[in-house]
Amino acid sequence: MASQGTEKALALLRRLPRVSLGNLKPNPGAVKSARRGRGIYGGKTHGAGSKGSGQRQNFMRLGFETGNTPFYLRFPYQNYYKGHHMRLSYAPLCMGKLQRMIDTSRLRTDVPVDITQLSATQLFSINPMEKMGGIMLKDEGIDHFQATLNLEVQWATEAVITSVERNGGTITVAYYDPISLQAALNPMAFFKRGVAIPRRMLPPQNLIDYYSDPKNRGYLADPTEVARERFVLAQKYGYELPDIRSSPNQEMLLERKDPRQIFYGLQPGWVVNLEDKVILKPTDPELLEHYAS
């Protein structure tokens, strides 16, 4: 604020007549009249030419080369695109930036950090409809990471897991299907819809191995296996694993969601009524069975 320009403008204003309703006007050129140009300023066609796609705006389809074999058909099939319509992309979050978010009080460390917490910072644009799967932790700035967190992200590498666990934190990678992800990204918008919290779907076929692997700290892995892998990783990188059980934040650090659960503290099937500030829970045995984990 208050750059040199601002100071100059304020100093200038001091010697000018009083700013009032009578002497205001828009910036030159800011107001455009909506008139249609005549003669040389527009003429008959207004630059759209006569006849054909130029005039009618029905342009050729993308990649069409009017008779030639199109470029995208001219060369053999690219194998690395196999199944691209099934794959998910993830919003990257560097470890250095995560630390900075904590330093600048954008992120709380006394509660488990999940996709909802991260999205509440308003720093990510994640659209599940564009096949985005959530947030992926990148190892950039990993040397600066010092926080003790209970993290839940959608993708993490071994280096990232190491740095989180070395600081006494815990990390889980968890899958969110598009509908659950949309709810988790903006809970208030979801609650306003007045529908029951859905069950989180299990990962698709190609991701089930990743999320069941204790090495990745997958949310479907056996907790005892995960505990063992934590120790193995500490041995591999030669650091002493801080004891979570003696930590004052033990309860927070060990809090986990059910694989079917989207929000901490809320079970699938519940309806959050923001108007009356009540939570409605299903009682019908069939519903209970449907939403049971």
């Binding site: 604020m1 208050a2 750059s3 320009g5 601002t6 403008a9 304020l10 100093a11 204003l13 001091r14 000018l16 009083r18 700013v19 009032s20 309703l21 205001l24 006007k25 828009p26 910036n27 800011a30 919003a91 990257p92 979050l93 930036k97 910072t121 308003q122 720093l123 990510f124 644009s125």
Partner: protein
């Protein structure tokens, strides 16, 4: 008066000590005045031991920019001095870029969003009559016509005429409304048209008292008094009741049009702090003005 304020304007961070000294001397005269037996109301105001110095540091604002300084005045003319203290104003609110184009946009918006145009004309089908073809198409040597209510005819319909009710409602983007407020407050402050008083308490409820006060202080004809609360003190309410060019307004009603409509804007200290709090809250909130967040996005 104007000289004193220009002193306040010119003072920068490295000279607050000098100002304090000046103000201390004020306080001495104030006490003396009380000893000589001034009005009771004046005594209540002057009874404080030292001048009111609200030198907040605003640690959250940019450290390079010093807070703006302004005198705190009193509406009590029997007080020993017009100025009773000094206040620091947040530079983001009272020293913002005076964007005249944004001020204009705000004023235009305030005029237009509630405007409904009732002008109405009839098209050819709505004008009475004109169903029959006036004369045959061919054989008469006359121009071809199908209706006597065609727009070409006298008494015919109107093409592209105004149609009631045309609303001109639109919303100015939130950030522009916010910046309009800071730009107007800053422009008013830069032009010495923004005065700060400790409260709207006055010893008299006469309209003449208020008029005389504004004239003596060169506040101009029209003055807008803004307080934190919407329940105003009795005396100023009665005094300004018959003066249509002196108006009272609570902080929640503060707007660009009204600030510019009046020559001088008078804020109470409580109003200043409330305005700062509300505007800074909106400047910093991460959710609403998306433009503010753009540079932080990952």
């Amino acid at each position: 008066m104007a000289g004193a304020l220009s002193l306040a304007w010119g003072v920068t961070a490295h000279r607050p000590a000098l100002l304090r000294q000046v103000l201390r001397s004020f306080s001495v005269t104030a006490v003396r005045n009380q000893e000589t037996g001034a009005a009771v109301a004046a005594a209540s105001i002057d009874s404080r031991k030292s001048p009111l110095i609200l030198d907040e540091k605003f640690p959250d604002s940019n450290s390079i920019v010093v807070p703006r300084e302004a005198w705190i005045e009193t509406l009590d003319t029997s007080a020993a001095s017009t100025q009773v203290g000094l206040i620091h104003l947040h530079p983001q609110v009272f020293g913002a870029n005076p964007r005249l184009d944004l001020i204009h946009e705000n004023v235009t918006w305030q005029k237009k969003f509630r405007m409904v145009n009732y002008a109405h004309t009839k098209v050819r089908s709505e004008v009475r009559g004109g169903g029959k073809k006036p004369w045959p198409q061919k054989g008469l040597g006359r121009a071809r016509h199908g209706s006597i209510r065609s727009p070409l005819w006298r008494g015919g319909g109107v093409t592209h005429g105004p149609r009631a009710y045309t609303t001109h409602f639109y919303m100015l983007p939130f950030s522009k409304r916010l910046q309009g407020l800071t730009a107007t407050l800053s422009a008013k402050f830069a032009q010495d048209d923004l005065k700060i008083v400790e409260s709207l308490d006055m010893p008299s409820d006469e309209a003449g008292y208020l008029e005389q006060l504004c004239e003596n202080r060169r506040w101009g004809i029209s003055v807008l008094f803004v307080d934190d609360s919407d329940i105003m003190p009795r005396n100023i309410t009665l005094a300004s009741d018959t003066l249509r060019h002196m108006n009272l307004m609570p902080v929640y009603g503060l707007n660009v049009h009204s600030m510019l409509k009046h020559e001088t804007l008078v804020l109470t200290v409580a109003a200043v702090r409330r305005i700062e709090e509300r505007i800074l809250y909106h400047f910093r909130r991460p959710d609403l003005p998306k433009e503010n967040m753009k540079r932080f996005r990952m």
